[in-house]
Symmetry: none
Subunit: 207 residues, 4 copies
DNA sequence: AATGAATGAGATTTCATTCAT
DNA sequence: CATGAATGAAATCTCATTCAT
């Protein structure tokens, strides 16, 4: 398995298998519980195999993160491209995010565990976006687009983006922990809140 | 120190000192970085002293959690008692939470680190509320009160509570990581969103 | 055991004990055989104890090197101070070096193992003198002094120093490996060679 | 490749290639740095290939040693055969040794790394000559021949041989480490020392 | 009240080697 | 002829905890 070479079928299958086991363990047992030994045990292989396919634990975790991020980003981009009006775009953004979460709760939860816990030798977060968070910036831009087009009310796009993102991000943890969590209802409520928070409107008592 | 005995002044001072150092380390270096050795080093004492005042690491972390929770709960309860209308109460709830966060960012962040990472021997979260989360239930109740009184629109109180809580909870991490985070602006925006999301209103284009 | 503090008696005794065991193992089993496990086993303690008294394997090995170097340097300096003429100084240098070797064969051999094998993360020798080798420079200076005073013949001091040092350095390995090695005879022969190589003289056939 | 069979051309070419890479790695990264993985990487082949051509790491290292030894021995024997007088023979020995070192510094250094570090399962040196060291014995015999013929002074042939050998052996390390090492000057100085140490002479002040 | 000393469990990682293809 | 896959042993190091003083 040399760098720059096309991975064989077996190789990419094994990598996928190991990454999936890592995701399982991370979702179930958290960051500290996700030792190579545990991941290997779950995969029914020896620790060494993990290190044969990944150059180290860091590499494995980074691979999980970029893999899941990639798939999520693709799903969202695809969904957004099917809408034009800012309101529809925001709604699609929320809906796709939550829908992806529903089908990939463990993956997302695993990524959250990694991103919020992994730290380099210097003690700083390994996966913290340096400078601006691109995920947040993207959502912020969607909000600004709606303001520029006049569809949206005046608001602080940056901070509203944070509010919406946090409402999305909280879900993966809940889905993993609480099996009775009603994602459909949550989605409806969040869509309602987002609409109320963005679209220009008058409160009743001001009439 | 025997069980049931009143702690001496020295004792409770030492406990507080150790807890504060634990909070510092947790906020700076995260859960995995918060070893007893590091906490003791920061306090300028030996590991043994930590274990003299706390029965173990679990005990220390639990004490930090309950201490901070207690103080936060008190601050919030006090603030809420000064308002009567549901709208004012919710606003006070948000404002007090965020204000407490501002002054106790490290503490809250430490608690978040503990609650989201600490696990028992069986691998389950040590600090997960079993059954209903009382913090969430409290906020939910405030929302329902507003609905019952007719002040608030019809919404899904449980899920709206989750949305609001997540918008509050995301702040401690940001305050620790991003020194330029503008809490005042965030508070304004969140108050606006909460009002829009709760108070009965009509959107303009529906008029 | 905090940095900068005076070591307790127990502590320095343990450190000495561990260093001695490390020296034993290094002399007997070589650099690769000198694992922490083996050193601890020899000392009748657990691996953790070694790491309690030394911050890591590197620290232990560095301590051994500087300890032995220190004692050797002191012995040599003391001996040299008792002689004045360049010829006597060189002879004393050789004699003291070999004498020290006789009594500290294992120590010196251990240091040789460390110095010639230990490498940093970048792959370079950890204990290589950067720039000029001070040990060699010292001997070189002794030779030059003899030349300046007119006692010694014209020779290439730097390279002669290398020849003499290598004749000294080879001994520790032989002493450890070959118990029948006759150090006294070797010393006599080396002294003879050094004298022949330094003192001004005429060969018989040139007369 | 069955035992006793003549190796094919490809086979011996591959073996040579692998041995050369092993020599490179040993000279650059030392014994501990010379893992099969690193050697294979340097050769652009997989670890398995190395083990296909050599029965194990030990076999590879042993092959390197005997290959280099063989070539060195041949060069020296050839050179010696061109001289008759003991003085000329010794000079040729020194000159040829150092000349060989100059052109094969890495090889010799690699062999030194192997010989001084490789150990069997029992912890003893794998390549230590059991009984008398033939290399040393050879040089010793040259010295004795000169004494028997009356060309050389009275000295302790065994120990003088050790001194001369050590002066030769130290060079490979220096050549690898210190690119500014002046081998020609060193050779001149060592030849001078050897002559002074062997040839009968009178010191000036004894006249 | 405080601490130094010691330990065992477990984490990541390296490496030579075996096996099937 | 060559390789990818897999493994187990061993190495260094971290950490919470216990014990005697």
């Amino acid at each position: 398995m040399q760098a720059g070479q096309v991975p064989t079928f077996t190789e990419s299958a094994r990598r996928t298998q190991i990454m999936n086991c890592a995701i399982e363990v991370l979702a179930e047992s958290g960051y500290s519980g996700a030792s190579l030994a545990e991941i290997a045990r779950r995969a029914g292989i020896s620790k060494s195999v993990v290190l044969y396919y990944f150059s180290g634990k860091d590499d494995l975790l980074a691979s999980v993160v970029s893999d899941v991020y990639g798939r999520a980003g693709q799903a969202i981009a695809e969904s957004l491209s099917r809408h034009v009006s800012p309101g529809d775009k925001i709604a699609a953004y929320v809906r796709t995010n939550l829908h992806f979460l529903e089908e990939h709760a463990a993956e997302i939860h695993a990524v959250v565990e990694i991103v919020s816990n992994a730290r380099g030798a210097d003690g700083t977060h390994s996966f913290a976006p340096q400078g601006e968070d691109p995920v947040l910036a993207h959502l912020e831009q969607l909000l600004r687009d709606g303001q520029d087009s006049g569809d949206f009310r005046t608001f602080d796009a940056h901070h509203l983006a944070i509010i919406i993102r946090s409402a999305i991000d909280t879900v993966s943890g809940r889905l993993v922990v609480d099996p009775s969590f009603d994602l459909a209802a949550y989605t409806r409520e969040l869509l309602a809140v987002v609409e109320l928070a963005t679209v220009t409107h008058r409160t009743e008592d001001s009439s």
